[in-house]
Amino acid sequence: MTYFSFVRAEFLVLWRRKQDVLNALLFFVIVVVLFPIGIDSSSEFLTPAASGIIWCATVLAVLMAVDSLFKEDYRDGSLEQLVVCGLSLPLLILLKVIAQWLAVILPLLVIMPLLGEMLYLSSASLWALMVTLLVGSPSLFFMGVIGAALTVSIKQGAILVMLLILPFYLPVIIFSTLAVKAAQAGLPYSGFLAMLLAMSLLSLVLSPFMTAIAVKASVN
């Protein structure tokens, strides 16, 4: 096994399981649609709430996607092989998360203008929202993957992952929605983006090592 062949296999598996990505996307859209129907469909409510709605839906969709990241590998034994293959486990995990991030976030960004239209977002704040997604979502993946690795040996681990990881998502949601609100008010929002970027980078550095510890403890 080499890093290159690992990445190739990862993308092949993702491609074979494109239905899962599609499901996550549909789940995301349905959660977003619940808000106008369930609370208020007027633009007075939706415009200020849009960024919060989209971010909460994103967080849930990401957690669903991340939770299944190691499940298959654990069951078919390839997680064990990653541990013993002699390559650096944190680096393999990093590559795996990046592949998953591309597969989930890129489609999300593509449908974002559509959702922005549905929630009456102006194009300027839509841009801000997309940038926060691009900059902030890596930290969602990197933190979520720790929880996924810890609970991979539990059959019904999804709820536990939510309980463990959702508190850590709070700052990301707060910074992003504040950024979009600042954009809606015509204020500069680069400070919030910097915070998001810092969180993503910090989790990028730390999470692979934590996840590697968790994976090693889980495969025994």
Partner: protein, 204 residues
């Protein structure tokens, strides 16, 4: 093919789920050895292999591979090992050839073709593994032995779910590997008359 290699395990203590599996186990394996690990169910045969490959950590003891102490950092050993556990590590969504390209990216197309031919998998080369039978999936996992040029083989019940023909092929493969200086550690309840094995017994 291989330079001289050896694996020495000394005073190994393994504990799992509050049970002592090994108490001060010591043995040594050299190039050309085929070692069968014997023991009752639950005696810790699989755990021993997992400890050697680095999935589990021993309570205490020392593991030396080819002169290098790998007790703490198993990296040196892992670069030269093929480990096959209970679940084979083959991804069911990928086809036979994709799985092999993943594990053995250096194998030449002709070598791949030859191995798949001899394992009677050549007709299923582009079939996702989840559509194959258990025995066929096992053969896919075992084909790594032919393709990956590694010295140390740690095989956990390699003969499980193989038919007579498969067992013959695998035995031949192990014999060939030992004759060129490879090391094989395996757990099995099967007698292997065609292989000259040494036994390491785990007492429970």
């Amino acid at each position: 093919m291989h330079s001289f290699a050896s694996l020495t395990v000394s005073d190994l203590w393994i504990e799992r789920a509050e049970r002592d599996l090994c108490k001060g186990l010591s043995f040594s394996v050299q190039s050309g050895d085929v070692v069968r690990i014997l023991g009752e169910n639950g005696a810790g045969k699989s755990s021993l292999l997992k400890v050697i490959v680095g999935i589990l950590s021993p309570l205490q003891g020392q593991i030396v591979y080819s002169g290098e102490d790998v007790t703490v950092d198993r990296r040196f050993l892992q670069q030269d090992v093929i480990y096959l556990g209970h679940s084979s590590g083959i991804k069911p969504q990928l086809t036979v050839i994709e799985n092999l390209r993943w594990y053995c990216p250096d194998a030449s197309p002709s070598a791949l073709h030859e191995v798949l031919e001899s394992l009677e998998l050549i007709d299923h080369i582009d079939v996702p593994v989840k559509k194959l039978s258990a025995g066929q999936a096992r053969r896919v996992a075992l084909s790594r032995l032919w393709l990956g040029k590694k010295t140390l083989w740690l095989l956990d019940e390699p003969f499980a779910s193989l038919d007579v023909r498969g067992v013959e092929l695998l035995e031949a493969c192990i014999r060939q590997h030992a004759s060129v200086g490879g090391l094989v550690l395996l757990t099995t309840h099967q007698d292997l008359p065609s292989l000259s094995t040494r036994d390491v017994a785990l007492l429970s």
